[in-house]
Amino acid sequence: MIRNIKFRLNGKDQNLELREEALVLDWLRNIAGLKGTKEGCREGDCGACLALLGGQAPDGSMEWRSVTTCTLAMGELENRHLVTIEGLASAGLTPVMEAMLDEGASQCGFCSPGFVLALTGYLVSGAKMDPVEAMLAVEGNLCRCTGYGSIRRAAKRLAEDFSDLPFGLKERFSVLADRKVLPKALADSMADSKADMPGGSVHKSGQTASMQNGSIVLGGGTDYFVQNPDPEPGLAPSFSDQDPASRRIKEKVLGGKTWICLGRAVTESDFFASNIIKKALPGMERYEVLVASPPIRNRATLAGNIVNASPIADMSAMLIALGAELEISSKDASRSLPIENIFLGYKKLDLKPGEYINEIRFPADWSRFAFEKVSKREHLDIATVNVAIAVKMGADGCIAEVRCSAGGVAAIPLRLKNAEALLTGAKPSLDLAKKLGAVYAESGSPMSDVRGSSVYRKRLLERLAWAACIRLWPELKLEEEIMA
């Protein structure tokens, strides 16, 4: 739908009548004439269209994240600040560009603006400066020419050259401007808090109201726009994340039990970065790299991952194992539902028009959690099979409570009650792991498709169940024994 949208582009305030459902990539290239942002795949898989999106974090501070503009609607720019290659290049070569040039990291050049944005975003982000982290920042970027050797050398050089970047936002932007990573005016504008953004404060109530009007509710759009790469004019989506509070992660005590509550717009990046999650589920952060890529995680919401209803959704598999409940809201009512019950069939949900997931919550008292995933490519790929298990250990060393899930083996992500029955009350052992593998292998009804044959998926169910046990009980050192 055409409406007025105020946002900032490369440091300049914009106040425009435009199609809110149009993709940012198309607007940049066709309307704004900014052709440095490239279309490589139009499904968030290559990073040629990367840009940096600044906006208000749930705690009110300013945050900057890399995003794929091919899966981002113009309406999402409201009260936010978008930086493209033209913004970075407005004062000539930057140290990021120079590092890439000197290492030969640009061959055909089509992916180069995306890599420049990703690496600049890494310097902006406040992440720890080291060569490995720097390469994690470009995991959403594909290059078909270089083989990544030169990109690694450039990333290493940047991590070393900028090892002393300050962590405070203002100080950091000031150093980045001094060292010409960002043109001075752009750096000043990027460091601005949202209070100075056009449009001022964020409208909370209006958004919730429109969400209740039955229009399509979009989370990150990272799957919706893959399915709908050229939205029909007139679509008037509600953007679930316009209120920064909707991205909060909180602990709540309900019925004497502590629950972790995730707002409707909590992204995968928010989830893995959360201290509450890290405290409740130590080691959870290690699974982050297995899920999508940084620009996708920066946008994709957990609620979106659920309502997308893909049988291989990584977050759905994790949340089923974590015993998540969904708070489903509509204009007049609210209901709660165990997550596994929302999946009725392939891409079929127990969700009526006008209803949306307002909150996801799960118990905070799991003792251990394991997630396993195998895909063709280890990173930036969709699972062939995924498996998640959460356990609560009793004082006697037996499993007091357990939840098991598996994805990619049926029309919906599965909760495996047979597996749970086997584990409940049992003492972890090699024998138990093998038995669990056998139960898993008989679960679901795996199909053959582009990601793998049914025979392979069945075998993976067994093996990933083993692997999960190895992770859950490292003290048992099952790893070598299980292959004996």
Partner: protein, 764 residues
């Protein structure tokens, strides 16, 4: 000002200022194209129904086979490749209609509303062996024989036979295919085309439009990657845009989205091959036979040129006295398979290396030892009659063994595998020997046109297409050296059919060899004229004039003396004295000949050598694998630009490793492409790639321009080491189990090998 070490092309890239096809400012009245393609692998149709599309989008226009003024034919060999399917289609993704609309969005949405009238699907042939059985070949099968394999097998201690299969590979150039056509006032057309071969596009467009070639001008500035995919396969898209422009009198842009590009454009050929190898107990290979069933797709395209390269590289980097190899181009119902970096060579290498892998296991020998024993030596005569000169196979192999500390590495791997069950490690080497020149001899020609402007700036035009491989930068360096100008004075002009005519595709690794040589000749000619003038002005002889990096010197005995005369000033004087400051030159690679009847000749100017070692770790629980290290020793000769060449080696290796161990070009049982987007077709990401350690053999090569060697394709074959490294680790997990030779390696195949569930029809 400008940093001389930096490639000006790359500066534009990182600034986001490089203009690719879709970035060219759109002129007013431009129409955008959408395409209607065939929905299945084989079928008949009575016509197309545009009514729904017209109802929704009344201002669209559409064109089909009957709208072609010239010939409905794209092929450069057999006439078997229509631009538009006419009543019958032979593969999924064949063009049925062109739709033009005011925007790309409208054109594509309208195309999706076009329905097929009287669709009747027909049986599809998908297996090249099935096509062979039915005699469905693209002419003509080739067989090369040397020695007597039959007699030799009798003298062998060990004779092994087997099958090796390899899948195709999608190019995934990041810039998809496209063209912009502007109608001319004389019935002709001017095109900006994303092609490796502007002259090729010119010829096809002229044929489709039914006009002489001089009315078609084709220009290509720079491609966002190509890798062979825009060699013959770019012509159809340009022809569609040209047809639209001529028919409507308006500029037309056609730019494919990723899915259409993946479905409708050709890829690397899949092969299925049988082999037989005979060896002595000590590992000496005496005889090798192979039959290559090339899955050529629905039309000839470049297949007749690809198959000889497979046969030429059948023996890999080994000296085999008795050889008999046959290649069949099997016509199937797939998109026409086409050029892809390596051009049939990698497929040939995979077969001989599979044979060696199996033989090493049977002999109980280390693969590397067996490889080393049989490496090509100086003077060896190939099975196609060419004598190897300046052989560097052992030099590279030994250096690679040394840099990887192979003996120690092997001992460490063995020790690790003894003490670990959940993980197994493996390693494998691949020696490479790759012939340089187009296998089709007439293609080994190129021209250059050099203009020196009267301010001293220089424009160099050749047939070379810049697609990221740095050919422009290399030609600029060669030109500056030959002219005596500064490097900054040189600008590489875009490649245009009206500037340098009758060029060949930038392909076969020969871009710099051919075009660089032509540019050097043209620059040398101008340099000669300038030297004469300088000698006259400085009252000396031309032989004593030295022109270097923008300055003119004069030799005084052994001393080089400054004259104070700059290149620019000298050029100004030349203009004033009415000296021709332009030159055209033509280069045809010397010494090439081949007799297709006897299958003997000298098809290559020289060979490029190298060796790679890759190590891998397999997770035997999950069936996944990681590549740990890659060591490569590459025969670069005297590099024109080492940063560029290093990037070529690393990038080619990554594509080879992707082809061998990741990229699965999966079609369904009806011949429809399943892996048709980047979410289902996975190319290497940074995490997939091992640490790469690359060293160069820098021995000059007097046969090529500036003593260099071509670099584009040979290192792709190093990727095969990844396949055999994983195989090595897998076999360590299941000692005594026979390996399988079904490329690419995938986590699925690895898992099912480990669990003993690999399907029975997997090549072994």
């Amino acid at each position: 000002m400008s940093n001389n070490k930096r490639n000006p092309d790359s500066i534009l890239n990182v600034l986001g200022k490089t203009v690719y096809i879709d970035d060219v400012p759109e002129t007013s009245g431009m129409l955008h194209a959408g395409i209607v393609v065939s929905p299945s692998a084989h079928g008949r149709f009575a016509g197309l129904d545009f009514s729904k599309a017209l109802e929704r989008y009344p201002d669209i226009q559409f064109f089909t086979a009957k709208d072609i003024p010239g010939q409905n034919e794209l092929s450069t060999s057999e006439p078997d490749e229509p631009l538009f399917a006419d009543g019958i289609w032979h593969y999924q993704g064949e063009i049925l209609a062109l739709i033009l609309g005011p925007s790309r969005s409208v054109a594509r949405k309208a195309a999706a509303l076009v329905s097929i009238i009287g669709r009747e699907d027909m049986p599809a042939i998908l297996d090249p062996r099935a096509a062979y059985e039915k005699g469905m070949f693209i002419p003509s099968p080739r067989t090369i024989v040397s020695g007597d394999t039959e007699a030799a097998f009798k003298n062998c201690d060990l004779v092994i036979s087997g099958r090796a299969d390899s899948l195709g590979q999608e190019h995934v150039y990041l810039e998809t295919q496209g063209a912009i056509a502007m109608p001319g006032d004389d019935g002709g057309v001017r095109l900006l085309s994303g092609t490796q071969s502007p002259s090729g596009v010119q010829a096809i467009v002229a044929r489709v439009l039914g006009v002489p070639m001089h009315r078609v001008e084709v220009e290509a500035r720079r491609l966002g990657g190509a890798f062979g995919g825009k060699e013959d396969q770019a012509s159809g898209w340009a022809a569609l845009a040209a047809l639209g422009a001529v028919k409507t009198g308006r500029p037309v842009k056609l730019y494919l989205n990723r899915r259409d590009d993946m479905i409708a454009t050709g890829k690397r050929h899949p092969y299925s091959s049988d082999y037989k190898i005979g060896l002595k107990k000590d590992g000496t290979i005496l005889a090798f036979e192979a039959v290559y069933y090339q899955n050529s797709g629905a039309s000839a395209d470049l297949s007749p040129a690809v198959i000889p390269r497979t046969l030429f590289h059948a023996a890999g980097t080994y000296e085999i006295p008795n050889i008999k190899v046959s290649g069949y181009m099997c016509r199937t119902n797939f998109v026409p398979f086409t050029a892809f970096r390596g051009f049939g060579g990698p497929q040939g290498f995979f077969v001989i290396e599979s044979a060696l892998d199996k033989a090493a296991a049977a002999l109980g020998m280390d693969r590397a030892e067996l490889q080393k024993k049989n490496l090509i030596k100086e003077g060896h005569k190939t099975h196609y009659g060419m004598s190897f000169k300046d052989v560097r196979a052992a030099l590279c192999f030994d250096a690679c063994i040394k840099q990887s500390d192979y003996k120690k590495l092997r001992a460490e791997i063995n020790a690790f595998n003894l003490s670990h069950k959940a993980q197994k490690r493996g390693a494998a080497l691949i020696p490479v020997c790759f012939g340089i020149s187009f296998t089709k001899i007439m293609l080994n020609q190129g021209g250059a046109l050099v203009h020196v402007y009267n301010d001293g700036s220089v424009s160099v035009a050749t047939g070379a297409i810049e697609m990221g491989q740095g050919v422009g930068r290399k030609i600029a360096k060669i030109s500056a050296m030959a002219l005596g100008s500064s490097l900054d004075a040189i600008r590489i002009d875009c490649t245009r059919t009206s500037t340098v005519a009758n060029t060949v595709a930038t392909a076969a690794s020969t871009g710099t060899d051919i075009n660089g040589m032509a540019a050097q000749m043209a620059c040398t000619e101008i340099n000669k004229r300038l030297k004469s003038l300088a000698a006259e002005k400085l009252a000396t002889v031309p032989e004593k004039i030295i022109m270097e990096n923008g300055s003119v010197f004069v030799m005084d005995g052994e001393a080089k003396k400054e004259t104070g005369l700059s290149f620019a000033r000298l050029v100004g004087m030349a203009y004033e004295s009415r000296t021709d400051l332009s030159a055209h030159a033509f280069y045809a690679t010397p010494g090439l000949y081949y007799d297709i009847k006897t299958e003997r000749g000298n098809p290559f100017l020289y060979h490029v050598y190298g060796a790679a070692l890759v190590t891998a770790t397999v997770d035997t629980i999950r069936g996944t694998y990681r590549f740990d290290q890659a060591f490569m020793t590459h025969d670069l000769a005297k590099s024109i630009d080492e940063t560029i060449d290093l990037g070529q080696v690393e990038g080619a290796f990554a594509q080879g490793l992707g082809w061998a161990c990741l990229e699965e070009l999966k079609f369904d049982q009806n011949g429809r492409l399943l892996a048709n987007t980047l979410s289902t077709y996975k190319v290497p990401d940074a995490n997939f790639m091992p640490d790469m350690h690359i060293e160069f053999l820098r021995k000059p090569n007097p046969l090529a321009v500036a003593n260099s060697k071509a670099v584009g394709e040979p290192p792709l074959i190093y990727g095969l080491a990844g396949y055999f490294a994983v195989m090595d680790a897998l076999k360590a997990a299941r000692p005594g189990e026979e390996g399988f030779y079904d490329l690419p390696m995938t986590p699925e195949k690895a898992m099912l090998f480990l669990s003993g569930e690999l399907p029975g029809d997997v090549a072994r």
